[in-house]
Amino acid sequence: MSGFMRLLRRDLLLAWREGGALGTALGFYLVVVALMPLGLGPDLNLLSRIASGILWVALLLAALLSLPRIFETDADDGALDVMALGTLPLELVAGAKSLAHWISTGIPLAIMAPVLGVLLNLEVRAYPLLFATMLAGTPAISFLGAIGAALTIRARRGGLLLALLVLPLYVPTLIFGITAINAALLSPDGFAASFLILSAISLVSVVLGPIAAAAALRTQME
């Protein structure tokens, strides 16, 4: 088994055994979505119109909450320094940890989204679209988020700073995630263009994220 797969397995196992982190993210997601109707009023027509937007924004916030975990514990106990000395390039270390974050947080949040759609009176035919766009969009959230997580390891007030650094990078994902759903609801063939751009953003992030995150990690170890 290659070093990449071993690291991925280790991180997934840690995330699974900790358990609490994923529960917190899912719980946060639920609470934010449940707060929206309380703030906007229980108008079901309004809610179903903006449901996809609410679900996307709340997903970004919930994912944001879990981003520090990508590097924090390993940086604290020195495991990251050991990994930097190992044979696996730091870019692949960052890639494996981002991928583990996507599998352990991004996918569960995407699975949870249609369930929460019930609370917002989301149209039935939007459910598969919502799930598909989130599955295609969440890699960008994990891999771009890793850059922010790497930059803020040693910062004061790291969590707040992380939000300020990372949320602007999420804007394209958010925009195309929502336009894909809305376009599909209006016309049968409006989905493809936005969905392809969304996937392209994710693919670019998968390449760019680990490179930038590794560069950020390296500057701290010199």
Partner: protein, 258 residues
Amino acid sequence: MQNQSITQRLANPTRFMQLTDWLMPLTAAIAVVVIAAGLYLALFVAPPDYQQGETVKIMFIHVPSAWLGMMGYLMIAISSFGLLVFRHPLADVSAKAAAPIGAAFTLLALITGSLWGKPMWGTYWVWDARLTSVLILFFLYLGLMALRSALDDESLAAKQAAVLGLVGVVILPIIKFSVDWWNTLHQPASVVKLDGPAIHSSILVPLLVNAVGFSILFLALHMKAMRNEVLRRRVKALRLAEVERAAKRERTAAAPAE
């Protein structure tokens, strides 16, 4: 000496300070003259636009501000590259100095844009691609400044900010082409186009004069901010030296000659 490029010759902060000692006031003076001419042309000479009426006058300051907001980020990105790849000693000074100035121009582009939008579009703000991407640019500036202020170790802050600066540079092409890629309310580029500008010279000339003036002003402000930063680092280094010397003196006093 002859073989050195200009960036290499500028690498020495002392030489940079000597050079900008006279170059900075000169640049500032030129900027004031050019901007005065540009404002005169904009306010008194330029005719009202047949569509926009007199509000076209806002464009004379809106467009240069927006360009410089982007140029400021380009400056940061180039400096970040210079720091990470060439370890140029002044690169971080340049990147740090450019951030607040670029942020100020970006903010001005947003303010003047929304003041133009109210009479022309009927609203201060629309969420179209150009406006949203410029707003993101402003957030990036804020993020860069916040990242620096959150890290105590200055050389670490420099490198971390450089990484973020280079990541954020993808926003520049998005801003530039957002009006072409998406069909939005903001008008497409009308000055920088392959087949020549699409606006009449009576409007274009004051716009370009102002743009040149604002750019020179940007350079002057950037030089001044870099000078301040060099001085700030000297003060910091001297303070450190003072403390170290005091500690050494204490040590020798505590352990008398044996």
